[in-house]
């Protein structure tokens, strides 16, 4: 049941006044999954969300929801909940009225509406006092919760989140992201979130789609995106990366490979590795739970290492490193 495709985008393109914002983009998302589309500002990720929501119509391609072609369908007929970056709560209505808005326009009886508002408010963590206030009397986090409740109350078939945490501080962002994820798991709504923050993307997404200049570079599980990126851009975007020529590891082509710093073993741990080398530590950066070591090999190649080893590393000291060949990822884009 969960493997059934909820949404499918087929060769979608969109142009703003002749400029291509999204180009020939395709992907599908199974029911109940949480996809995060990650990319820099202006890469077209919000445009995709707007096209899915029916706020923009693609210049080319088709959108299917539950195998139904909704490409030309109006946003009000799609039954999709969307949370916008600035929440866009109706300023003249109380939080309660904002949340019940989708039910009111569907002419649901008042008692049912009130009951549902109370339920969803509790689910998103709003108190009874808070929902009686106007949006201007609420904090950013509370407004975000109201926007989320409003988007979910009418049981949408799809939930779209357009950088919903962009205006919040880091602590609140992490807390709300966890809450959103838990909520999504509880109500099992298929969700697509866009963000430019890779930490947000990695926090609990089932799938991550990486976009750049209107193109979808890769869509996969976070672990795969991290370990096996399709291009060096993604490799560099997610955490620390060592990108080296493939021939360095005896791979006979002009491609490049990725080795994550934490996959490099040091000293005694390196003994059994298939590839070994020695180098001089050029700098050590204390990162709290671990150290980031910059190492200069004898041939001048620079490598980054991440270790939580308690060994007293010192700048200019010589260390032995080793890499298991299965931890060397041949970047497909460069093959």
């Amino acid at each position: 049941m969960t493997n059934k495709t909820k949404i499918k985008l087929e060769n979608i393109s969109y142009s703003y006044a002749g400029n291509k914002a999204v180009e020939n983009l395709s992907f599908s998302l199974p029911t109940g999954k949480y996809l995060t589309i990650l990319g820099p500002s202006g890469c077209g990720k919000t445009t995709i969300l707007k096209m899915i929501g029916g706020y923009l119509y693609p210049t080319k391609g088709k959108i299917y929801i539950d195998d139904k072609n909704v490409t030309e369908m109006d946003s009000c007929s799609r039954k999709i909940g969307m949370v916008f970056q600035n929440y866009l709560l109706f300023p003249h209505l109380s939080a309660r009225k904002n949340i019940s808005f989708p039910l009111e326009i569907r002419h649901q009886p008042k008692n049912d509406r009130e009951k549902k508002v109370d339920e969803i408010s509790e689910l998103v963590g709003l108190t009874k006092k808070e929902i009686e206030r106007k949006p201007s009397e609420l904090s950013g986090g509370q407004q975000q919760r109201v926007a989320l409740a409003r988007a979910l109350i009418f049981e949408p078939q799809l939930l779209l989140l357009d950088e919903p945490l962009a205006n919040l501080d880091k602590e609140l962002k992490t807390q709300l992201l966890n809450e959103i994820r838990n909520l999504q798991k509880t109500i099992k709504v298929t969700t697509i979130m866009v963000t430019h923050d890779h930490e947000e993307a990695l926090s609990g997404s089932d799938l991550i789609g990486i976009m750049n200049q209107g193109k979808l570079l890769q869509i996969d599980e976070p672990k795969i995106i991290y370990e096996k990126p399709s291009c060096s851009l993604i490799a560099n975007h997610f955490g620390q990366a060592n990108i080296l020529p493939a021939k360095y590891f005896g791979l006979k082509n002009d491609a490049t490979v990725l080795i994550r710093p934490e996959k490099i073993k040091i000293n005694l741990n390196a003994i059994n590795c298939t590839w070994k080398n020695q180098g001089k530590i050029s700098s050590i950066l204390f990162m709290g739970s671990h150290l980031l070591i910059n190492l200069m090999l004898y041939d001048g190649t620079e490598l980054k290492l991440l270790t939580s080893d308690s060994y007293p590393f010192a700048v200019d000291s010589i260390i032995t490193i080793g890499i298991d060949i299965e931890n060397v990822w041949l970047i497909p884009e460069t093959i």
């Binding site: 009000c76 007929s77 969307m82």
Partner: protein
């Protein structure tokens, strides 16, 4: 330049107070005094050195009550229709490009640069028996002879709406531009129809602007003069027409001043009462 801290605040407010007292309030005080003088005996426009409140009996005698009620109803009609016109006009142009919006608004506001008497003359020609409207009605055989479009209530109303519509349109337009159009997009995404968006989002958000405009135009409407005088008929007489009549035709200044006091008073009270009433209705409906 440093201000002397020893100067008392009331000294600083004196210039403004002087302008208010002598420039704005003194005619009102003079009018109040005039309204308490006895009407002229045989010569002059009033009886100097007298004091009476008898002039205020016009509120209860003769055409007084009728004129008062007619003026209030006329003002409600003018303000309501003018606001409706302005609101519809703004809704129609707000989806256009900025250039077209400016063109339309300028075209509307240009009428305020023309002398009101010229406008009245123009309207008389347009609404007259041989004006283009009647010519068209006859040409298309909608009626056999000229329809009386002026010298009645409609004519007076049209003239006053013509005068007030540019102001209402401009204020409503400014209020509408304050509304974030993304709210409409959000509402649509949540499943609202165009009518629901209008009723639940656009209308409530523009409500403060509408009420402000309505109040301004209502006060204008209470003072309607040119429309009723030139395009209405004698039975359309408003308080302003009565003031003109008393001051310049009858020569009874105390009664004219009394009407002036009544007009000023209702201009202050009635909008307040009506706005409170509308707010109560709105609160009741929104519950």
């Amino acid at each position: 330049m440093m201000l002397n801290k020893n100067i008392k605040p009331y000294v600083l407010t004196l210039p403004a107070l002087t302008i208010i007292i002598f420039g704005l309030a003194s005619p009102i005080f003079y009018m109040i005094r005039l309204s308490t003088l006895k009407p002229p005996n045989e010569i002059g426009f009033y009886t100097p050195g007298t004091f009476t409140l008898e002039n205020f009996q016009i509120l209860f005698n003769g055409i007084g009550p009728v004129t008062l009620i007619k003026t209030i109803i006329f003002a409600i009609e003018v303000s309501s229709l003018s606001v409706i016109f302005g609101f519809i006009f703004c809704l129609l142009i707000r989806k256009l490009s900025m250039l077209w919006q400016v063109i339309f608004l300028t075209a509307l506001l240009i009428t305020k640069l023309v002398s009101p008497l010229t406008i009245i003359f123009g309207l008389q020609k347009i609404l007259g028996d041989y004006g283009p409207i009647n010519e068209l009605l006859i040409y298309f055989k909608i009626c056999n002879g000229p329809v009386e479009l002026m010298r009645n209530h409609t004519g007076a109303l049209l003239a006053e709406i013509y005068f007030t519509a540019p102001i209402t349109t401009l204020i409503v337009y400014l209020q509408l531009t304050e509304i974030n159009t993304n709210h409409e997009i959000v509402a649509k995404g949540l499943g609202a129809s165009n009518f629901q968006i209008f009723r639940r989002i656009i209308l409530p958000l523009s409500y403060p602007g509408i009420i402000t405009t309505w109040r301004i135009v209502f006060i204008w409407g209470l003072g309607s003069f040119l429309g009723p005088l030139f395009l209405g008929n004698p039975s359309e007489s408003t308080i302003s027409c009565e003031i003109f009549h008393q001051f310049f035709e009858v020569g009874n200044w105390p009664v004219g001043a009394t009407w002036g006091i009544i007009l000023t008073t209702i201009s202050l009270i009635i909008p307040e009462i009506l706005t409170t009433l509308i707010n109560y209705i709105r609160m009741y409906v929104s519950k």
